[in-house]
């Protein structure tokens, strides 16, 4: 399994805005800002083979490889990034950074506020997808890359992709938004709000001031994650995954224990999430998604891409994704077409709901590698020196990682 991995990787940190504050869309600012990031592969001589991967709601900079050399700590998009994989690290220089507001090393509500010497908590300013992307632009500047070959990501990662294409079009040649939307729908805002209300309702949340307490708002965060997991599945995938099967019970107990497999799955994942994610970050990152609306200020999505006509798009949605339904992607494709943008689009037939973007590995690999192949040809991207093509394409079978593990890593 690890033979096809990028091998040991180490998270790096880039700090900026030490002298000048980093202004945010809200009018507030941050000073300084740190971004955690990882890179895989080698930048070529003319710096034209860089690909930025954007992560989803609860993701981190650790997209591929074995974190700190630990083969059990694989990246969240391990199936797609690596030698000979869709984002082929033999040919491309792949970057992934943790968004601001998150809790995996980038500046967020759990970071120390230099003004007080204590964690920000709710004193952390509200950030937007636009702010997250402007911070990534600083990182790309820092890495000496003028133009990314491509920016790719699913779900909230897809929103960042669209933000890059709409507001920083001169910094990229291609964009791959997956299972995403150009404007967060009221239903999405509603699910975000249920998650946030679960956290607010936990007494241990204490208005965000819990970092020095023994008790964290784990119960609230777990419920928020459980709601999230429901939205990442589909009715069909729940039938396939759990059915009405009981877990650890032969028959109904007529009591309020965890009986059904689906209950057990949600409980397990809710609990597991509290060990890896910060409740305040959940509030900030979901809020950033809720504010995302590229139709503003003109009301026209096509207008948002008026300066992006040179950017080549690959838009992917999934038929059973009811969180970011295909029609969102179709509206995006219509707007891009109307703006004269070169756009390739496929609504992949899948039963796996929103999770499909991590699970439909074979179709995704076909699409991504063929599209990147075309970019290499049309944009004349040289391979890094020392590159030799692999004699045989690596098997991309789904059994590289168990499905549940991938789904748990989601978003």
């Amino acid at each position: 399994m690890t033979a096809h991995s990028v091998g040991p990787v180490y998270t790096q940190f880039f700090t900026f805005a030490e002298d000048e504050p980093f202004g945010l869309e809200s009018g507030e600012s941050l000073q300084p800002v740190t971004l955690a990031y990882e890179t895989y592969g080698v930048l070529n001589a003319d710096r034209s083979n860089a690909i930025l991967i954007c992560h989803a709601l609860s993701g981190s900079a650790h997209a591929a490889g074995e974190l700190d050399g630990d083969p059990t700590r694989l990246g969240w998009w391990e199936e797609t990034i690596g030698p000979g994989k869709a984002f082929d690290t033999d040919r491309f220089f792949v970057i992934c950074s943790n968004v601001i507001g998150s809790c995996y090393g980038s500046t967020g509500p759990a970071s120390i506020d230099p003004a007080t010497g204590k964690p920000y908590g709710l004193n952390f300013p509200v950030v937007t997808i636009g702010d997250m992307v402007r911070a990534q632009v600083k990182l790309i500047d820092h890495l000496g890359i003028d133009r990314l070959l491509c920016v790719a990501g699913g779900s909230m990662g897809g929103m960042q992709v669209l933000e890059w294409a709409a507001h920083h079009p001169q910094r990229l040649r291609a964009a791959i938004p997956i299972a995403t939307t150009a404007h967060h729908s009221p239903m999405l805002i509603a699910f975000s709000e249920v998650g946030r209300q679960a956290i607010y309702a936990d007494p241990a949340w204490n208005h965000g001031a819990y970092y020095d307490k023994a008790q964290k708002p784990d119960a609230g965060l777990a419920v928020a994650r459980m709601v999230g997991h429901i939205t990442y599945l589909s009715e069909e995938s729940m039938h396939l995954k759990f059915g009405r099967r009981l877990q650890g019970h032969e028959k109904y107990g007529y009591e309020f224990e965890t009986e059904f497999e689906v209950e057990s799955y949600l409980k397990y994942n809710g609990h597991k999430f509290t060990q890896r994610f910060d409740a305040n970050s959940y509030l900030y990152v979901t809020k950033a998604m809720d504010y995302f609306d590229l139709t503003q200020p003109t009301g026209s999505l096509a207008a948002a891409f008026a300066a992006s006509t040179h950017v080549k798009f690959l838009v992917i949605s999934f038929t059973s994704d009811w969180l970011y339904p295909s029609y969102h992607s179709k509206q995006l494709v219509s707007a891009l077409t109307a703006a004269g943008v070169d756009v390739t689009y496929l609504d992949v037939k899948s039963s796996w709901g929103h999770d499909a973007f991590l699970l439909e590995v074979e179709t995704m690999t076909n699409l991504l590698s063929s599209f990147l192949e075309r970019l290499v040809r049309e944009e004349r991207v040289a391979a890094p020196s020392g590159y030799t093509p692999r004699p045989h394409p690596i098997s991309r079978s789904n059994d590289l990682l168990p499905r549940t593990r991938l789904a748990d890593n989601l978003a």
Binding site: D90, T337, Y345, L346, Y387, P389, R390
Partner: protein, 214 residues
């Protein structure tokens, strides 16, 4: 499999296949090098690939099936999944030199709308279609009483997607009715171009027309 540095590690999908369907070759001959081309219902992208490699056209495709879209992407083409009738609406006026509709006309719910949209987004439309007016079809109906299967579109009436048979003469009347001028006309019989003289409808199994607004 390429062995050049900087080239594919993927097995290439037959980029040298010259075996283009006969009506597609006839269409390709009508297209100027470097043209902007939209192929609606582009299938596996064979025509667009041929046009890109031989005529350096700037091609785009619309295709309904996932298998078709995946095949096009594998050929390195720009393709949108969607149906013909909705897909056209997004394109700005006159954004293409040529809009192609090959062997798709009998499957359309609203051919008048599609042809008029084709001539909105493109300067010229090229269509190819099977001709049920061919003498074989006429004899088949006369002698067997069965609705004929078109020679170049071997599909029974009950198969999906459903299609509506029509002839070269039907199409000519239709174009007249909706204000479309048939410009160049190529007639084929089982993959070969034929000289039909006055008997176009009787002697051709497939027609390839370029269309313009009258």
């Amino acid at each position: 499999m390429s062995t050049q540095p900087g080239m594919s590690t993927q097995p290439a999908v037959s980029t040298q296949s010259p075996q283009l369907r006969a009506d597609l070759l006839a269409i390709a001959d009508l297209i100027e090098p470097g043209a902007r081309v939209l192929d609606i219902g582009c299938g596996d992208g064979a025509l667009l690939e041929y046009l890109r490699d031989r005529k350096q056209v700037k091609g785009r495709g619309i295709e309904l099936t996932e298998a078709g879209v995946l095949a096009c992407v594998r050929r390195g083409l720009s393709v949108r999944q969607g149906n013909v009738q909705e897909g056209l609406a997004d394109y700005p006026d006159q954004s293409f030199d040529i809009v192609i509709l090959s062997q798709t006309l009998p499957f359309l719910d609203d051919p008048a709308m599609v042809l008029s949209e084709m001539l909105r987004v493109g300067r010229t439309a090229i269509v190819s279609f099977s001709n049920w007016g061919h003498w074989r079809c006429r004899l088949e109906l006369l002698f067997t009483g069965c609705i004929p299967v078109a020679t170049d579109l071997p599909q029974q009436w009950y198969e999906s997607p459903r299609r509506q048979p029509f002839s070269v003469t039907d199409f000519a009347h239709f174009c007249q009715k909706i204000g479309i001028k048939i410009d160049r006309q190529i007639y084929m019989n089982r993959g070969l171009r034929v000289r039909t003289g006055r008997f176009k409808n009787l002697l051709s199994t497939t027609a390839v027309f370029t269309l313009q607004r009258a």
